[in-house]
C-alpha cells in the first residue's frame, strides 16, 4: 500500500469497524440461522438444514411476497408521480428559494416515523378528522372506513418516503445542464416535447434512485402495515417479525429475511448500474 492509500485506509477504519460490528456481523449471524433448526423456545439448534429456505418458497409465503411487492410497487409508483412535479417545480424555482423549498419538502421527515404514521390513524379512522370534515360539509352517509386497508398502507408508505424521492429527482434535475433544454428549444422542440425527449430521460437516474429507495424500504416495512393495515395485511416484514417474536421460529424468519435481502440487493445493484451508465455526462459545464 502506498502512503496515501494507507492514510485513507486509516480514515475509513472507524466507519468500517462500526458497520462490521453492528451491522454486518449481526446480519450474518441472523442469516446463518436460516440453515439451522428451530429451538423449541426460540433460538436455534445447531443442526444444518435447507428446509427453512425451501419453505420460504412455499406458495403460501410466495403470496405474501407478491402482496408485499405489489404494495411496494404501488407505493413507488404514487411516490414518483407525486414527487416528480414537486421536484421539477423546486428545480425551476429561483436559485435562492430552492434550499427553502427543499427544507419544507423534507420537513416531515424530521419527526418520528411512528408519530407520523399514528397521525394518519387520527386522520383516517371512522371518527377521524377526514370523516368529521365530511360530516361538517354535509355528508350524511355511513362514515368512510379508510383505515386498515391496502390503500391506507400505501398512503402511509408514500407519505413517509416521499421526501427521499423528491430529493433524488431534484438532484438529478438540478444537475441537468440548462443549455440542453435550450438546445432542444433551439432545434424546434416545444415545452412538452422538450420535456419528453430531453428532461425526462436525463432525470431518469434520479427517478430510479428514488423509486428503488421507496420500493426497497416499502417491501420490507412492517410498522406501516401493522399500524395502518391493522394486522389484516401481511407483508414480508410482518411475517419475519412474527416468526421471531410470536412463532418463535427464528430459522424460518431468517430464511424469509434472506430472500428479502436478496431481492433488495438485486434492485440496488440494478439501480447502481443504471446510475453508472447514465454517468456524469448530463452535468452542467463548470
Amino acid at each position: 500500500m502506498s502512503p496515501p492509500d494507507m492514510k485513507s485506509g486509516l480514515l475509513v477504519t472507524p466507519a468500517v469497524a462500526w458497520l462490521v460490528i453492528f451491522m454486518l456481523a449481526p446480519c450474518l449471524l441472523v442469516l446463518s440461522y436460516a440453515f439451522l433448526e428451530r429451538g423449541t423456545w426460540g433460538g436455534v439448534e445447531y443442526t444444518l438444514t435447507l428446509e427453512n429456505i425451501a419453505r420460504a418458497f412455499d406458495p403460501l409465503y410466495a403470496r405474501v411476497f407478491l402482496t408485499s411487492a405489489r404494495i411496494a410497487a404501488l407505493a413507488t409508483l404514487f411516490a414518483v408521480l407525486l414527487a416528480y412535479p414537486a421536484a421539477y417545480a423546486i428545480a425551476r424555482a429561483p436559485r435562492r428559494w430552492q434550499p427553502v423549498l427543499l427544507f419544507f419538502a423534507v420537513l416531515p421527515f424530521w419527526s418520528n416515523y411512528l408519530i407520523r404514521t399514528y397521525a394518519w390513524i387520527v386522520l383516517l379512522n371512522r371518527e377521524g378528522l377526514v370523516n368529521n370534515l365530511l360530516k361538517a360539509l354535509g355528508y350524511r352517509g355511513e362514515p368512510l372506513s379508510m383505515l386498515y386497508s391496502e390503500p391506507a398502507v400505501i398512503l402511509g408508505l408514500v407519505y413517509n418516503y416521499l421526501p427521499f424521492v423528491i430529493l433524488a429527482i431534484y438532484s438529478a434535475l438540478s444537475r441537468l445542464n440548462p443549455e440542453l433544454i435550450e438546445a432542444s428549444h433551439d432545434l424546434g422542440g416545444g415545452a412538452l416535447r422538450t420535456f419528453w425527449r430531453v428532461t425526462l430521460p436525463l432525470s431518469l437516474p434520479g427517478v430510479a434512485a428514488g423509486g428503488v429507495f421507496v420500493f426497497v424500504l416499502s417491501i420490507g416495512n412492517f410498522v406501516t402495515p401493522a399500524l395502518l393495515g391493522g394486522g389484516r395485511f401481511q407483508m414480508i416484514g410482518n411475517l419475519v417479525y412474527d416468526q421471531f417474536l410470536a412463532a418463535n421460529d427464528w430459522p424460518f424468519g431468517a430464511a424469509l429475511g434472506m430472500v428479502l435481502i436478496a431481492i433488495m440487493t438485486a434492485l440496488l445493484l440494478v439501480q447502481a448500474r443504471l446510475a453508472a451508465r447514465a454517468g456524469g455526462d448530463t452535468a452542467r459545464p463548470a
Binding site: 445542464n177 440542453l180 435550450e182 428549444h185 433551439d186 432545434l187 424546434g188 422542440g189 436525463l202
Partner: protein, 361 residues
C-alpha cells in the same frame, strides 16, 4: 462627425440585410450587457462579433436566438420583427459554446432531433442526416454517444446539428474556443469552406481577434456592450476608429506625445508630420510600418532588447526614449544583423500612422 457616425454612414445601403439588429439593448438589473447595438447582417456573409470576454457577445447572440428578451430595440429577420417569437419558432439555429449535445442520444439521433421536431418524414430525416454526416466527415461516428467523442468531434457534431435545419442564419458562440491551437486553425478553414458549401449566413462570436480577421467577411467590435466599429477585417485593421480597437486588433505600438500647432507630432526623439489639429494623444504604428535603419542615422534612436522568432519574420523589441517597448517587424533575412543591446535608429512612415487624441478631460 465622430468615428462611429462615420462608420455608420459609410455602410453602403445597397445590400439588403437578412438580419437587422436595431438599437438592441439588454440590461440585467443594473448591468447593461448590450447597449443600443445596431447591425445589419447581409445574406451569405460570414460575420464575426468580436470583443473581450464579458463585453456582451453571448448575450447579443442569445437575444438573436430568442433565449433573452431585449430590454430595448428590435430584431428583424428578412424585414420581419422576430421579437415575439420563442426560440423554437425562429428560423435561426445556435451552436452553443459548450456544444450542449444531448448526452443520451447517439450522434445520428442528435442530428435527427431538429428534423424530428419539424415532423419531417422518416425517410427524409434519414437521408438528410446521412448527407450531413458525410459532408462533415462524421459518418464513421454516427452511432457513438457524445461522451465517446473527442473535443474536435463534438465540435463537428454540434455544428452539424445546428446546420441540419438549414437555418436562415447560423449563430455560433465561440465555436472553436475549446479546441487547441492547431486544431483551431484547421477548423477555421474548414468552417469557412463549409459556410461556402451550405450557403448559409454565419454570425460567429469570438474573443480571438486573429480568428475574426482570418474568417470574417465583416466584423463588429464590441466593448462593454457597445458597438465600437463594424467593417471588413481590412477596414478594421487599417482604420480602427479608436485607440481601443487599434490596440485590440492585431499588434499596435503606441507612442505618447503631442501634435504641435504646426501639425507635427512630437515625442522625445521623434517628429512625424501629421497635418492634424494640435493636442496631446498617442501615435499608433503597426510593427510592419516601422523601418530599422542601419547605424545611428537620422531616425529615432533606440536599443534592441531582444529578437523574437516568428518564422519568416522576426520581431525586434526596441526601447526608445518615447516608448519603453516598440515592436518592429523585420524580414528574417535581415534579422541576423541585430542582436540584443545593439543601438538602432527607427524610421516611421507618416502615411502609415494613426493618431488618437487623448479624450477631453
Amino acid at each position: 462627425m465622430n468615428a462611429r457616425e462615420r462608420a455608420a454612414a459609410a455602410a453602403p445601403p445597397t445590400h439588403p440585410a437578412v438580419l437587422r439588429i436595431e438599437t438592441v439593448s439588454k440590461a440585467f438589473g443594473a448591468v447593461t450587457a448590450v447597449d443600443r447595438v445596431s447591425l445589419d447582417i447581409r445574406p451569405n456573409e460570414f460575420f464575426a462579433l468580436l470583443g473581450p470576454s464579458g463585453c456582451g457577445k453571448t448575450t447579443l447572440l442569445r437575444m438573436l436566438a430568442g433565449f433573452e428578451t431585449p430590454t430595448g430595440g428590435r430584431i428583424l429577420l428578412d424585414g420581419q420583427d422576430i421579437s415575439p417569437l420563442p426560440p423554437e419558432r425562429r428560423p435561426l439555429n445556435l451552436m452553443f459554446q459548450s456544444y450542449a449535445l444531448f448526452p443520451h442520444m447517439s450522434v445520428r439521433a442528435n442530428l435527427a432531433y431538429g428534423l424530428e421536431m419539424e415532423r419531417r418524414p422518416r425517410a427524409e430525416i434519414t437521408r438528410r442526416v446521412d448527407e450531413l454526416l458525410a459532408t462533415t466527415g462524421l459518418s464513421a461516428l454516427a452511432d457513438r454517444r457524445p461522451d465517446q467523442l473527442s473535443g474536435g468531434q463534438k465540435q463537428r457534431v454540434a455544428l452539424a446539428r445546428a446546420l441540419i435545419k438549414r437555418p436562415k442564419v447560423l449563430l455560433l458562440d465561440e465555436p472553436l474556443g475549446a479546441l487547441d491551437k492547431k486544431l483551431r486553425e484547421q477548423m477555421q478553414l474548414e468552417l469557412k469552406r463549409l459556410q461556402h458549401e451550405v450557403g448559409i449566413t454565419f454570425v460567429m462570436v469570438t474573443h480571438d481577434q486573429e480568428e475574426a480577421l482570418v474568417m470574417a467577411d465583416r466584423m463588429a467590435i464590441l466593448r462593454d456592450g457597445r458597438l465600437l466599429q463594424c467593417g471588413t477585417p481590412q477596414e478594421v485593421y487599417e482604420t480602427p476608429v479608436d485607440r481601443f480597437v487599434a490596440d485590440f486588433i492585431g499588434v499596435m505600438n503606441f507612442i505618447e506625445g503631442a501634435v504641435d500647432p504646426g501639425g507635427v507630432f512630437r515625442a522625445p526623439g521623434l517628429d512625424v508630420p501629421l497635418a492634424r489639429p494640435a493636442g496631446t494623444g498617442a501615435l499608433a504604428v503597426r510593427p510592419e510600418a516601422v523601418e530599422v535603419l542601419a547605424g545611428p542615422a537620422a531616425g529615432m534612436p533606440g536599443t534592441v532588447l531582444d529578437v523574437a522568432y516568428h518564422g519568416l519574420d522576426r520581431v525586434l523589441h526596441v526601447r526608445t526614449e518615447a516608448a519603453p517597448l516598440l515592436r518592429v517587424r523585420v524580414a528574417a533575412r535581415h534579422a541576423a544583423e541585430w542582436r540584443a543591446g545593439d543601438a538602432v535608429s527607427l524610421r516611421i512612415e507618416p502615411a502609415h500612422c494613426l493618431f488618437f487624441p487623448d479624450p477631453a478631460p
